[in-house]
Symmetry: C2
């Protein structure tokens, strides 16, 4: 895989989308967008590092002088991005040229507000908009290279879920189990751990519970939602629900309905659906079974170089789900004071069908 | 230590500073500012979580419904912050009330630009400014509780530097040594690793070098700049320079000058200096010895709940260094193609004197 060609293509596509969206200047700061366009995994410092695309100008990267070598090491000049350094006593913002035409400035969705406010002051007569309108369009359609990366990430996280029954020991607190899982996330091939939700007993009713000192005990439901980033920068994300020993028939029957809902949603990916139509599939099935009120979040989120990106599978998102979209399907139910459950896979729409990145069992896992 | 009282005091001080700075609405998103004001260590999601301070209103926290339990677990309602949840299909931004008076909106320096652009569109007739003018003033003056936390963080990272000679083995690459250091950063008491710069040989000339596959060899200079965050949320940061076996007399004599420069700067903390006057101390000493051109960054940065925060010890910063300021003193020299060196301590100005958080030797460490 020649990433130089991939990055050059991405930069070209971004330039074309700028024209389409009447954007004169695209400003991209460290984070997933910068890495996506150039391969440069820059630190997000208070000092300005910024990729600048402007009409009839070659791409430029403004970097603090002390980041110059790191930028060069990333190979960014192999894709014809000119590096412009600034010194500690200079204004980095003034290194951005006033654009020749009248179009808008589009700024990285994740640019720190302090930097955006600086740019807005400097270019006070220009309009500013969210670069998401360009970057999300680009990044939500995965190339075949990217699909491979997501499949690899999925294999890594599946390995961790498969090992959880043997990792768990009676007496473990949530945080103790989370630490063991984190080690395995790295051992499985990820470069970093992004999150490790281990929610036991009543805590499983909090979808984003932080693992704490709660000791996991017999009869507990365990919602384990984990993800990491691979060395190539792609994210994994998968949730499975476990039970320590045995659970109530009441919980088990609710879980079976959830499993049906999740499977119906995955089947529906091959339909010609909008994101909100897809969101409705799990929700409708849960509604028929009086569980919809406990499904308090959207069905899913896009994934790629960030764990959460476009397309969001949520009511109100009328965009069609298209080939190349990669996203989670993760219905759940959360009953405060009792328990919760969630099942999450990453799927990619490819050739009109859904390709599943995660392939561990969706049955309740008794440990 | 009653953190409830500490947080209430911080919220009060923020409200007072709002009046002083003609700010009607202070908007704080997940990150160090939110944790500083409320103790809530929230995830920075694409979904809006936002603390709102407005005149004559009690503090409010807007959270996505699925983060509600996590917010409550943080104890945020013990400090009288009202939690307002929003559902997936609602506009979170519209939960912010139009302020009664005409003052400006001050937004978290690290708020994502996509969120700031949303607020600017919704309150199109209001002026927006960087909340740094309130938060930096607050956070740059450390309470006695915070000084204790920084001293503890310093002890943790010193423990790691002291162990490096025994961690290193012939044959280690930068990244192998970095991994061992990362494990020790956690074992020493930190909750997370923030950065691990291991720059060997010619790489030491890049101040922010990412550890790579380069095998560390005899005769190499090693710049090791490491830091982590303690469970209470305070950061450590210390750099020492090591030599594998032996180095050239030329490098050694330059290093001795650097050591003098660093010590002169620390002594100067007790003077009634501005930040830029303090920056000049190391720089002048290096200049007298023909090394100033290789000292390509500022002398230091403030530190607390973020590794880099106010006050910055840099030319152009005319603010006085005052009691309660905590910052790094880290002169270095970087000669491209040859080698580099840096010595970094965290110091706190307290009772007119400098208190040093780091106490390992500043001599070259031969390993």
């Amino acid at each position: 895989m020649n990433l130089v060609i991939e990055h050059k293509e991405r930069l070209n596509k971004a330039s074309n989308l700028m024209i389409e969206h009447d954007v004169s200047t695209l400003l991209i700061t460290p984070g997933a967008n910068l890495r996506y366009l150039t391969g440069y995994k820059a630190k997000n410092l208070e000092r300005l590092t910024c990729l600048i695309l402007q009409e009839n100008e070659s791409p430029k990267l403004i970097v603090p002088r002390l980041e110059k070598l790191a930028a060069i090491e990333s190979g960014i000049n192999e894709i014809d991005v000119e590096i412009i350094t600034w010194d500690e006593t200079e204004s980095a913002f003034e290194k951005v040229k006033r654009p020749k035409n009248s179009g808008r400035f589009a700024v990285d969705s994740n640019m720190n507000s302090s930097k955006l406010l600086n740019f807005q002051q400097l270019f006070a007569d220009s309009k500013f908009t969210d670069a998401g309108l360009i970057m999300n369009e680009l990044r939500s359609f995965k190339s075949s290279y990217e699909i491979d990366q997501l499949l690899t990430a999925g294999k890594y996280i599946d390995q961790v879920h498969r090992a959880i029954p043997s990792l768990f020991q009676i007496g473990d607190s949530e945080i103790m189990l989370a630490k063991k899982i984190e080690n395995l996330i790295i051992e499985a091939g990820h470069e970093s751990v992004d999150f490790t939700i281990v929610a036991s007993g009543k805590n499983s009713a909090s979808p984003h519970h932080e693992p704490g000192e709660t000791v996991i005990k017999k009869g507990d439901v365990l919602v384990i939602d984990i993800g990491g980033t691979t060395p190539s920068g792609y994210c994994s994300d998968s949730t499975r629900t476990y039970v320590v020993g045995e659970c109530s028939p009441e919980f088990q029957s609710k879980y079976e309905i959830l499993k049906e809902a999740q499977e119906l949603s995955i089947q529906a990916v091959s339909n010609d659906f909008s994101a909100e139509q897809l969101d409705a599939v799990s929700r409708d099935h849960l509604r028929k079974n009086d569980l919809a009120e406990y499904f308090i979040h959207r069905t899913g989120h896009g994934i790629g170089m960030e764990t959460h990106e476009e397309p969001y599978i949520v009511h109100g998102n009328k965009n069609q789900i298209k080939d190349g979209n990669a996203f989670s399907i993760e219905p759940g139910f959360y009953i405060e004071g009792k328990y919760g459950a969630r099942i999450e896979d990453i799927v990619i729409k490819n050739g009109g069908k859904s390709v599943n990145c995660n392939n561990t069992t969706k049955d309740l896992v008794f440990i």
